[in-house]
């Protein structure tokens, strides 16, 4: 058993940390305030290899392992979870293709992300199908050799800026639940594809979240990812791979909260001494550090398992649920340690609290993670 990072991983972390310090932290507050998409920052991140981490090298990507990726993502999220989510968006869109796409699709679509700093989006959720993925209604009609897609996707990260979408739709009746769900890669410029309203969100406001609409969009075999009816499985496998990334968001937020609070607690005085001298504050800091450390270990373990090829959904869900819930608790305590200052926009902790809340919701709510965990646990008992 060895928890040391390789020299290569160490360098990757340092690169990401430097980028975060120089490029992200100085602008994060402003992007959040105005809900500005971090296009330039993403272009710079792309330039130095901080985007598209898990796209294999044969398609021009970095071919990093999930562990490498989360190490890097933690650093980015330390600066801004909204930017972290934006960068993850491309990986999420590419993952179904990496897992189930044809050679041509990988070359064309995954390759496009590595040839230029463009965006892609993963489109699964719908207004009436969030936690309940199998309840989706986006309809795909087969017409001869073609498919015709009509439907509405909601809460789609990067939607407004994406050049292509990985979309899940349904061939057949909605009562068939997960059967019939099929994955497609859909170029933005196909007739009938449009972007709808943008969400005005509590946090992660630099990240774009919008509706995507499909109106009688004609697709061919070349757009089909995997086989007909395999979509649900592809979506779930994608989540197994992506949930450690969300734990990385949690780690970034928690480490930032801890650093900010430690500094503030040593400076701020009450009752004649630094508040760091009070046990109430000390215990909060200790809790924060434990939660960070435990999340990081769960995230490393889940990521390592993925690298070993013995992926177990339960481990990704452990890391995601524990990490998201911990980040929420830690960011809430961070506001508390800062007191009145923490409630104002002058200090970064109120943003950490707003940003953290999304971790408990997207890529499967904390409740869905518990369902996945419980289902796996109970299956093991049979």
């Amino acid at each position: 058993m060895d928890f040391a990072l390789t020299d290569e991983q160490q360098r990757l972390v340092e690169t990401a940390r430097k980028f975060t310090k120089e490029k992200i932290i100085p602008v994060a507050q402003r992007l959040d305030e105005h809900g500005t998409f971090p296009k330039e920052i993403c272009e710079q991140a792309w330039e130095i290899g901080l985007m598209n981490a898990e796209i294999p090298q044969e398609y021009g990507g970095l071919g990093l392992s999930t562990l490498d990726h989360v190490l890097m993502a933690e650093e980015i999220n330390y600066g801004c979870a909204g930017i972290g989510t934006t960068l993850l968006g491309n990986n999420l869109a590419a993952m179904p293709l990496i897992l189930a796409g044809t050679e041509d699709q990988k070359k064309k679509f995954c390759g496009s992300l590595t040839e230029a700093p463009i965006f892609a989006a993963y489109a699964c959720s719908e207004p009436d199908a969030g936690s309940d993925v199998a309840g989706m209604r986006t309809a795909v009609r087969k017409v001869g050799q073609e498919y015709v897609m009509t439907g509405q996707k909601r809460w789609i990260t990067n939607a407004r800026f994406a050049s292509w979408y990985t979309v899940f739709g349904r061939i057949g009746d909605v009562r068939d639940r997960h059967k019939g769900i099929t994955c497609f890669v859909v170029p933005r410029d196909l007739p009938g594809v449009s972007v709808g309203k943008k969400e005005d969100k509590l946090g992660q406001r630099a990240s774009d979240t919008s509706d995507v609409l499909f109106e009688e969009v004609k697709l061919g075999k070349e757009h089909l990812v995997g086989e007909e009816g395999q979509g649900f499985k592809i979506a779930m496998k994608t989540f197994d791979r992506s949930r450690p990334w969300i734990a990385a968001g949690a780690c970034g937020i928690m480490r930032r909260a801890l650093d900010e609070c430690r500094r503030y607690a040593l400076e701020r005085k009450a009752f004649g001494q630094a508040i760091a001298q009070f046990q109430a504050i000390q215990f909060m800091l200790a809790e924060m550090a434990m939660k960070y450390e435990a999340t990081r270990l769960l995230m490393w373990k889940a990521s390592w398992s993925i690298g070993q090829g013995k992926l177990d959904a339960i481990e990704s869900s452990y890391a995601k649920a524990f990490g998201a819930d911990s980040a929420m608790a830690v960011a809430t305590d961070a506001v508390q340690i800062f007191g009145g200052y923490g409630y104002t926009k002058e200090y970064p902790v109120e943003k950490l609290m707003r940003d953290a809340k999304l971790l408990q919701i997207y890529e499967g709510t904390s409740q869905i993670q518990r369902m996945v965990i419980a289902r796996n646990l109970l299956a093991q008992g049979q």
């Binding site: 959720s125 009436d128 969030g130 936690s131 309940d132 199998a134 309840g135 909601r154 809460w155 969400e199 005005d200 969100k201 509590l202 946090g203 005085k269 009450a270 009752f271 004649g272 009070f278 109430a280 504050i281 929420m328 809430t332 506001v335 508390q336 007191g339 009145g340 923490g342 409630y343 104002t344 926009k345 002058e346 109120e350 609290m353 707003r354 809340k357 999304l358 408990q360 919701i361 997207y362 709510t365 904390s366 409740q367 518990r370």
Partner: protein, 379 residues
């Protein structure tokens, strides 16, 4: 033991509920988004007698009691937490100390119009270096004949940008520590009273607060509240009452969040059934309702003790601590029940989540409440 409201208390609660439903709830989201102080709605609330609920009618108040006041603040805050705190500050932090510590001349000028709601008051205790540690006052008041010359800074003064007068705390004798703190009541149009820009906050965005500078502010000696050195005692006893208002505000926010989550859970379907049928959601709702009920009982008990003239420092602190933490747990769960929808500014629950957070910070953080409670326990 009897836990029942009087006819009068019920009537006020119902009136406030109706007012909040009609005038506040439909507009609160917009006021929050525009960071706008809803002067007109606050004016209407004042017309209902909410300027000084527990102030005797001969001094311009509604002549009711603290229990009625707590019920009113809960209802108002359920509609709009910002209006809730605007009223709470005027009642508890301004009218209350003027009524309790002011002389008739002071009451004539600073109680009647404020309890009637013709004017709005604020409370200046917090300073940049004196938040939880309120005894660390650096604002000085130096006696010059029949006047005091005041210099210093107060921050996060709720109602500060709109108030007509302030109950404020200063050091008249730095060598005496808390016994050197002295309170004054001062009109905000006095020369030397300088307001900074309105604070940008996480929540309660329709409740304006700001930093205030006293730049050689001259205060006639007759505007002193109580004697020199009484200030800390006045501040602490005022906060014993104020915490009842904040506890009630927290319950109002929590109840709004709870009710929205309950209604949403009955509508929203996953896995072919309304999510209200999933045990995970049912148990969240059960916990939310239980915690709000417990918080309300703690709050009404503290209010009843105040009305009986009993010392209620510990009870107010318990009510404020529990209600504020409960409100945050409830608002968090309510947002979670709404899922992605809850994270969007389209839904009111997103605002409740932000608004709830302040109740654990102002008028004594949760840590200060624990300090007050444990001091009382160990004495």
């Amino acid at each position: 033991m009897q836990i029942e409201l009087t006819e009068e208390q019920r009537l006020l609660r119902d009136t406030c509920r109706e007012f909040a439903e009609k005038e506040l709830r439909p507009n609160a989201k917009r006021w929050d988004r525009e960071h706008r102080f809803p002067a007109e709605a606050v004016g209407k609330a004042f017309e209902l007698g909410l300027g000084g609920v527990a102030v005797p009618s001969e001094w311009g108040g509604a002549g009711m009691d603290t229990v009625a006041y707590a019920l009113a603040i809960e209802e108002i805050s359920r509609g709009c937490a910002s209006v809730g705190v605007t009223l709470s500050v005027n009642n508890s932090l301004f009218c209350d100390p003027v009524f309790k510590y002011g002389n008739d001349q002071q009451k004539e000028r600073w109680l009647k119009p404020f309890a009637r709601g013709e004017k709005i008051g604020c409370f200046g205790l917090t300073e940049p270096q004196a938040g939880s540690d309120a005894a660390e006052q650096r604002t000085t008041a130096v006696r010059k004949g029949d006047r005091y010359l005041v210099n210093g800074t107060k921050n996060w003064i709720t109602n500060g940008p709109v108030a007509n007068a302030i109950v404020m705390f200063t050091m008249t004798d730095l060598s005496k520590g808390t016994k050197g703190i002295t309170a004054f009541v001062v009109d905000t149009d006095t020369p030397g009273f300088v307001r900074q820009k309105t604070d940008e906050k996480l929540g309660i965005c329709a409740s304006p607060s700001c930093t205030i500078f006293f730049d050689n502010l001259e205060v006639p000696a007759w505007q002193r509240l109580g004697a020199e050195g009484d200030g800390f005692k006045i501040a602490m006893s005022t906060l014993d009452g104020g915490r009842i208002g904040i506890a009630a505000q927290a319950i109002g926010i929590g109840r709004a969040a709870f009710e929205e989550a309950r209604d949403y859970a009955k509508l929203r379907k996953t896995f072919d059934v309304p999510i209200a049928q999933h045990q995970a959601i049912q148990f969240m709702l059960a916990d939310m309702a239980t915690e709000l009920e417990a918080a309300r009982l703690l709050t009404l008990r503290a209010a009843a003790m105040k009305d009986q003239g009993l010392r209620h420092t510990r009870e107010s602190a318990m009510a404020k601590l529990y209600a504020s933490e409960a409100a945050n747990r409830v608002a968090d769960k309510a947002l979670q029940i709404h899922g992605g929808m809850g994270y969007s500014k389209e839904m009111d629950v997103e605002r409740h989540f932000r608004d709830a957070r302040i109740t654990e910070i102002y008028e004594g953080t949760s840590e200060i409440q624990r300090l007050v409670i444990s001091n009382a326990l160990l004495k």
